[in-house]
Assembly symmetry: C2
Homo-oligomer: 362 residues x 2
């Protein structure tokens, strides 16, 4: 399923085979939580070079419902995306975004973020939901904790995560639909991360994800945890850093041997008027762009930078025209695709260190 084509230090150039095509790694996945990468059409994602995106099992369970998606031919057909799809389980949403939830021996009870109706998820349910969606890569229900967390809380959450992983694996082995990954938890504790890795690896799953990051820790802490955790993961399998990061984070994580990424930054920043450019972050609402006839990023050839000026983009944000957020999102995703392409090319050429050395300018 995963083949390493070339190495450069700890970094790897790889090929991930999925039922919906091969994906070159390192790879960034645009976030399409509710079966839509906000403002962007599937054909545009493809044109940018994306071959895999991320959706969210919890959100799709709530609306339109995984049974509905299944009856309509699965998630790929539903959203018009014929590339690969990784679905996140919803653990992050349930434990980090919802204020109240109750953990019972069977699973987790919580209230829908949409209408407050009570929901109950077991690890087995979450595997089933993703099987019904037809996801290519499947994430088990996990329990990430907000950082900083008390050691006892991190410990308890890890135990639950590991217990649920075992149950997810048993359920999944009965009918392995997509490729199930383990999710490594353990907060900022090296010991707990190590234990999480060791007790997850016994299941010999197709890949492993480092979870529980971008949850309140500092950038240095994030990179440190990612560094020592990914170093403990098996060489031959894909490694996924969940919810990360800025372009420079991506380059640094690639150098640590991470293969897969997802993050809301390019899409969310795009909608709020922040653009990642070769000249740093551009806040397009700034008054100084009012009569700037130049492109958002002079070194970018995306549809936004080819066709529109900073002045026009600023105007669209000013008068609340959707084209503004849509064009900045398009640019940001193009920029991320470009960063990942450069990372892959750098690994192929054995020159990743140079890219990482200049990561702050990515």
């Amino acid at each position: 399923m995963f083949e390493i084509v070339k190495r450069d230090g700890r970094a790897r150039l790889g090929r991930l085979r999925t039922p919906h095509g091969d994906v070159e790694t390192p790879c960034f996945m645009p976030v399409g939580t509710k079966a839509s990468v906000k403002t962007v059409l599937p054909e545009e994602l493809k044109a940018m070079g994306y071959r895999m995106i991320l959706c969210n099992a919890y959100h799709l369970r709530v609306r339109p419902g995984d049974e509905t998606v299944r009856r309509l031919g699965g998630l790929h057909r539903f959203m018009g995306w014929d590339g690969a799809i990784l679905t996140d389980s919803g653990g992050y949403q349930i434990f980090s975004l919802l204020k109240t939830r109750t953990i019972k021996p069977e699973g987790v009870e919580f209230l829908s973020h949409v209408d407050g109706r009570p929901l109950f998820f077991t690890p087995e349910d979450v595997v089933d939901i993703q099987a019904r969606l037809g996801s290519d890569l499947i994430m088990p229900l996990d329990y990430p904790v907000e950082l900083p967390a008390a050691p006892a809380q991190t410990r308890a959450a890890l135990d639950i995560t590991l217990d649920w992983l075992g149950r997810s694996v048993r359920k999944w082995r009965q009918a392995p639909a997509g490729a199930l990954f383990a999710i490594i938890q353990g907060g900022l504790s090296k010991e707990l991360r190590k234990e999480s890795v060791e007790r997850s690896l016994v299941h010999d799953l197709p890949g492993a994800a480092v979870g529980g990051l971008s949850l309140g820790e500092s950038k240095a802490e994030l990179l440190e945890v990612l560094d020592y955790t990914s170093a403990m993961l098996p060489e031959a399998k894909p490694r996924y850093a969940m919810g990360i990061g800025t372009p420079s984070d991506l380059a640094r994580a690639v150098a640590m041997g991470v293969d897969l990424f997802d993050c809301i930054l390019p899409t969310r920043y795009g909608r709020t008027g922040w653009a990642f450019t070769s000249e740093g972050v551009v806040k397009i609402r700034n008054r100084r762009f009012a009569e700037d006839g130049g492109p958002l990023d002079p070194r970018c050839a995306c549809r936004c930078c080819r066709g529109f000026s900073r002045a026009y983009l600023r105007h669209c944000f000013n008068v609340r025209e959707i084209l503004g957020p849509a064009l900045l999102t398009h640019h940001n995703l193009s920029h991320y695709a470009g960063v990942m392409r450069r990372a892959r090319e750098a690994i192929a050429a054995g020159r990743l260190a140079a890219l990482v050395g200049g990561a702050d300018a990515l």
Copy 2:
């Protein structure tokens, strides 16, 4: 500037020459009030077959400012649209949408709809604004009245409109940038409409628009006024019905010899979940589409209908994903482009009557 290629009854197949390319008529102009056709890129409009769009001088004066647009190379370059642009003057906005305004001998005083700052427009200003924008077709400041209106009010508004037209023409003749049209007012009064036509025609302008419709009158009244007013307009020049209408309205107006149209319906309806289809209006939020895997319009080949199901479109509206409004807008504009194409083909074949006979199904 305007050439009639073929006639079918009162209908005409024509070619309008503009500094930004030829436009085949009858022609519908998508509305891009603030220099953006909401959710749609210029390249998409072109792919649908559009060659002319409408923007609004008043809105662009307020934000980003006509001087800013001029310094940035004009409106076409600003918004990335290399086809033709007609700008409306803002008379409709000032008189029909704003609650307070004061007419003075020089012009009209009112408060900005954005920040309440006082603004003052003279007819000369409005010609200047459109010259700065670089519009291909220019509309004079006019005074439309909401219907029904007292005869004295309609009379007074017409006198002001005619006075302003004279001043607009004098200003415009000094440096005729785009093609200035007269706007015919006169409410529902045949007599006043006739007077408006006669006193406007003395200026021998490149074209004439029928204004003051879609302002509270019934559909029958609208079509009646349009019918007798357009019949009085010169044969050899383009006729423009402002702010009209549904697909069936368009077909009927084409049969009356109207050449140009604009309307917010396809874009606004698209954003609110209403689609014009070959099977009538589809309200996509309806529960019965929840598991409907078919296209929005089985007889449409647009990007929306080719790529997405009714169930997916409904889902996008349900979870407030922008792709929903964007795809429905795309479809509606494609549908309108198709209706106009069919009207032009019907005139060319001498079969417009058949199209108009089935107009309710358009």
